[in-house]
């Protein structure tokens, strides 16, 4: 076996997901019929839960066009497309020397990401049968994160709702 080119091109998660989908991978249990190996399905399962599952070619193209002015390194662009950071604190580890290179502009970049790339899938609502109260609170918080425009008032309302949910669950289970 000869390696002709170890690096013939980097792929975003979105492209790999698209490739697996064209071969017939999907979430439903028709898995035995399609010509995809179980190990490939594991990759599919991972990608479908990441930020890549809602992206389309248009999104990615538009983002690439509009982020040219920020002069990001190729690795940084790849990370951003794969992760879809929606907050300053999320984009910080991706960009090296963010203060020196960007300072104020970092927030613009975050807004650009949020505007152009679609949201990752929201977390599933907690099942009524689950007993883990802590898990429910975590899921609630994740849903807030995905809604993005976290206004303080909405936060308080959500917090007030959560105890009620727990109450309902006790009744149901």
């Amino acid at each position: 076996m000869k390696i002709k080119e170890a690096n013939a091109g980097a792929l975003t998660n979105f492209e790999v997901l698209g490739f697996l989908r064209t071969r017939g991978a999907s979430k439903d249990p028709t898995r035995v019929i399609v010509p995809i190996a179980p190990s490939e399905f594991k990759v599919y399962d991972y990608l479908v839960e990441s930020a890549a599952c809602n992206q389309t070619k248009e999104h990615v193209k538009e983002f690439l066009e509009r982020c040219k002015s920020y002069k990001l390194a190729k690795a940084e662009v790849l990370n951003i497309i794969n992760l879809r950071p929606s907050a300053l604190v999320e984009i910080d580890p991706i960009i090296e020397e963010s203060e020196k290179r960007f300072g104020e502009q970092l927030e613009e970049l975050v807004n650009l990401v949020v505007e152009v790339l679609p949201e990752p899938p929201t977390q599933k609502l907690p099942e009524p049968e689950s007993n883990e109260v802590k898990e429910d609170t975590m899921d609630g918080k994740n849903m807030d994160e995905d809604k993005m425009e976290t206004v303080t008032v909405e936060q308080i309302d959500k917090d007030q709702i959560e105890p009620n949910e727990d109450g309902e669950q006790i009744v149901v289970s």
């Binding site: 076996m1 000869k2 390696i3 002709k4 080119e5 170890a6 690096n7 013939a8 091109g9 980097a10 792929l11 975003t12 998660n13 492209e15 790999v16 490739f19 697996l20 190996a37 190990s39 490939e40 594991k42 990759v43 399962d45 991972y46 990441s50 690795a75 790849l78 990370n79 794969n82 992760l83 907050a87 604190v89 999320e90 984009i91 910080d92 580890p93 991706i94 090296e96 802590k134 898990e135 975590m138 918080k141 994740n142 807030d144 994160e145 976290t150 206004v151 303080t152 936060q155």
Partner: protein, 210 residues
């Protein structure tokens, strides 16, 4: 995370699949050979992307199978240093964390690459298991009932790739050691924004309240 690699390989097609069209037969042989295997310096092979060229088809004397020289592209999983990946917690013990991506399990975060200061709280009556807690903030908070920053596997963990090594195949292995891992990723979560996703949602909310 994923790269395309161009590979050339001399492939022997066993006689029992010679009734299939050539490209299908070659694709299935390649998949059996490469899928879910690690190639040193290349990474974990995920999929055969496409076949560029098929040459040959010679039959060597004394052999019932035909041999082809195939040029094809593979999708390989090979994270680069500095990449940020989201993974789930698989194990946690005194030497650090072990994370899993579903299709790849050998991701280790050693104790010295956890956010400082962190401490390990062992679960009583188990050999080595426990959970890691990040002691952030003043001492009073750390002593409170439920520490704020625990790594307990309830939500996915973001980490940054520190290094990717391909240890060479050992000649002999002692009985109880872990199965050989041909590719090991070492990561770090000692930075803003890394670690369990829920840690940083709290940080955001605190900022909003201010």
């Amino acid at each position: 995370m994923f790269y395309l690699s161009l590979i050339e390989h001399t492939l022997r097609l066993p006689p029992h699949i010679l009734h299939l069209p050539v490209d299908e037969a070659i694709k299935s042989e390649l998949e059996t050979l490469f899928l879910d295997k690690v190639i040193a310096k290349l990474g974990l092979c995920i999929s055969v992307y496409d076949i560029r060229s098929i040459k040959g088809g010679f039959i060597f004397p004394g052999d019932g199978a035909s041999t082809y020289t195939v040029e094809f592209r593979l999708i390989v999983f090979r994270p680069f240093i500095g990449e940020i990946i989201v993974a789930k917690l698989k194990e946690s013990d005194a030497s650090g964390l072990r994370l899993s991506l579903g299709f790849f399990d050998d991701i280790y975060i050693p104790a010295h690459l956890l956010p400082t200061p962190s401490r390990f709280e062992a679960i009583p009556n188990t050999r080595n298991q426990g959970r890691w807690i990040w002691d952030f903030g003043d001492a009073e908070e750390a002593q409170s009932e439920e520490p704020r920053f625990v790594i307990d596997g309830s939500d996915p963990i973001k980490f940054r790739v520190d290094s990717v090594i391909y240890p060479s195949i050992p000649l002999e292995q002692p009985e109880n050691s872990k199965p050989f891992a041909p590719m090991v990723i070492t990561g770090t979560i000692n930075y803003d924004g890394l670690g369990p996703v829920s840690w940083w949602e709290e940080a955001e909310m605190i900022q909003e309240d201010e």
